[in-house]
Symmetry: C2
Subunit: 442 residues, 2 copies
């Protein structure tokens, strides 16, 4: 059972049908004699996009391009697809066009392959952590807290938006569904820390949201994130885990998705197979933020953004370091205090924090993580310096009052990973139904 991709009629009174059921990239070739049951009556419907059930005998194929083929005994059409109206005729369609018909694009070779690879990566993420005894954690989507610095938030409400209840010229959120102002989560990290400080090693894998007006090929308003959090890990343990994790995922994808990755390597980006193998086979480079700045300053390359100690690294800097200088994944660590959020652990030098970013050639940052500040006094000091509302974070602070422990974690943007593994240029093409500014269709 599957969907007809192509049909070719032979003069000898039979037809060749290419059938695909989405389980793999390759089609099954069907030889249908025009005298078999159902052929004559359904022949007018057997076009590209039509869905049919075919009974037959699977035999070795004498033709080129396939090992086996099906000699049909009978055909039943489940649903036709009028060639005058069905948008997916046999020709190349632009990814822009396919985004307009996101409800039909999974029936194409490219999107079928993307979704199978995405599926394998998701499962592989679970296997990696489960094999190591991590507990999968569902942190809340609707939240009253804000993982500071992560980004703009969407508001969640059941109030009547054209006339919300007001009190003292402000919206009276005590009448809203949750009795206070709520938003969609930008990160499950803070809640992840709660559980790491009880179950030792946990990971989240769920949707997160950014209400930023970023119309780029690397940003989504809704995306899935993986966030492990581990008690008793320092920054080095954190970097070790991040490296093991990424190499495991690439190895697993090469092993389990060879057909789909060959397809991407041929049609989308001819360098991905080689790049993935290099990631699996080589250790990541690890350099201090200060070294990275030094490398960038002494480089003869012209950058759009100038570099000095204390600056945020831009994508052009990150790619230069991983692609051109080291030609492999690079972990940069110990970033300046000032450019990092309140929860990161202060280093003894007084100016840096135990933060790390993993950079991949071609992509830039794929993982960001840190050791967390586990000392009560140091955390309070950092929160005051960043002018945060302590009351809002009382439960997070409590973790440092009661049985605190060194702990670390990181976050991986799942769609960026799928993008990198498949070589797809636009992040909107690696998620079933992308949400971006001015677009929440389907």
């Amino acid at each position: 059972m599957g969907w007809v991709r192509t049909r070719r009629d032979s003069k000898g009174g039979f037809s060749f049908l290419e059938i695909n059921d989405g389980s793999c990239l390759n089609n099954l070739q069907v030889i249908a004699d025009h005298n078999i049951d159902g052929f004559e009556s359904d022949s007018g419907k057997l076009h590209t996009g039509c869905c049919a059930g075919i009974t037959g005998k699977l035999v070795q194929s004498p033709g080129k391009g396939q090992n086996v083929e099906l000699q049909a005994f009978s055909i039943e059409v489940y649903g036709a697809a009028d060639p005058e109206q069905y948008p997916l005729q046999k020709k190349n369609h632009s990814f822009e066009f396919l985004r307009e018909i996101a409800h039909l694009r999974p029936r194409t070779n490219t999107f079928g392959a993307v979704m199978r690879v995405r599926n394998r990566l998701a499962y592989s993420i679970h296997q990696f952590f489960q094999d190591r005894g991590f507990v999968y954690l569902n942190t809340p989507i609707i939240t009253t807290s804000d993982c500071e610095g992560a980004g703009e938030m969407f508001q969640v409400t059941t109030l009547n938006p054209s006339s919300p209840p007001m009190i003292d010229a402000k919206v009276d959120y005590s009448q809203d569904f949750f009795g206070e102002k709520t938003s969609l989560t930008v990160s499950g990290q803070l809640e992840g820390e709660v559980y790491a400080l009880a179950l030792s090693e946990i990971y989240t894998f769920g949707p997160t949201f950014r209400a930023e007006n970023s119309n780029t090929s690397r940003h989504l308003s809704e995306f899935w994130m993986v966030e492990p959090e581990m008690a008793f890990y320092d920054l080095e343990d954190d970097m070790d885990l991040a490296e093991d994790f990424l190499r495991y995922l690439f190895k697993d994808a090469l092993e389990h998705c060879p057909e789909d990755l060959e397809f991407f390597n041929k049609r989308i980006d001819k360098t991905i197979l080689e790049r993935h193998r290099r990631i699996v086979e080589n250790q990541f480079e690890r350099i201090l933020y200060s070294e990275a700045i030094h490398i960038l300053e002494k480089s003869k390359k012209k950058f759009i953004y100038s570099v000095e100690w204390g600056c945020n690294l831009q994508s052009e800097h990150e790619r230069y370091i991983s692609e051109e200088v080291f030609k492999r994944p690079v972990i940069i660590y110990n970033y300046p205090d000032e450019i990092k959020p309140f929860y990161m652990k202060a280093n003894e030098d007084g100016v840096t924090v135990s933060a790390m970013d993993v950079l991949l050639p071609k992509l830039g940052e794929i993982i960001g993580g840190s050791q967390r500040e586990d000392d009560y006094e140091a955390l309070i000091k950092r929160m005051k310096a960043k002018d945060l509302d302590m009351e809002n974070y009382y439960w997070y602070i409590d973790l440092r009052r009661f049985g605190s422990a060194p702990h670390s974690g990181f976050g991986l943007g799942f769609e960026r990973l799928v993008q990198f593994v498949t070589g797809m240029e636009n992040i909107r093409d690696v998620i079933p139904f992308p949400r971006t500014p001015k677009n929440a269709r389907f």
Copy 2:
């Protein structure tokens, strides 16, 4: 490394510490001579809730209650927990009280066990579907569509709520982030059908939302749902899969969580182990909705809600049928058209649809599913009868215009499953941070 659960000092100059790191229910007993490194200096901190790293020799235990114990060489306290302030002292706390300190409750026996069982069930769900070649699908959380009849929705917006832009006395959603009115999803089914009609067999596992003011022990405003959707499955295939799925999950939990389930069986509900084994070992009963009505009508039991053909079954009816009549899980199928949503397949009798619910003793409905209407004309007719806006569903209707196929699916509320497997009475106690009316804390 772990958290001190209890400490007992012996007169002989040593202490017994019970240490737990959340990886399992049982503690590790530590024998700490008062002369070892770190003991004297940290002794004042070694109380319940304190986090410590202990080095020592693991030996067979001469005492009762454990096979092994640790003879400590040295102790280092990572974080103290002032006994005057730490709320989790060694005594029984009510679940209501523990909900108030949801950031500390995972450190208790009960919540550690709940989260380990929850973790295992989540992984087991992935394994079940992955082993069968299903593709894991992330359907959108923010949506403009509404899986009709599923329930009230939360609105998602970035407009200024105290003065939203207005046009013709209505909120001008063209200025909202997505350019139209958006909500949190109540179900991924419709988008799941898109992918089933391309990849054949898919499943979702993600958060869903209901803005209903239900303050019961079985309702959450934010919960996780599993929704498989399969091309080429009719209602019977759908029921077969649902039954296989549930029996697999219970079998897997019994195999992989024996210690935690023994704990629940002892402390929470003394019938769960026996009930789970019965589910694994016995076939589910399958009866028509009409038969269920007949059984209820002729029963001598007094129900709060009266019964007649065409009514919705209430929890009391569902539990009577599965607990008292059949004493096992029951699948009721072929429900009246009028009480079911537009997307369910009309049966030939003209009054019922191919819907099914799986009922568990003690819990009631755990799975609801159906064969979907795959015929274009029949779908349009049903949508008109239910007065739906066709334009909004153009892409869903397209699936019946282009390569339609018989297909079916179902939904399982994940927290209800965890509730049933653990025996926990309140659904707020089987999710890390519950969201309910007037509560979105942490």
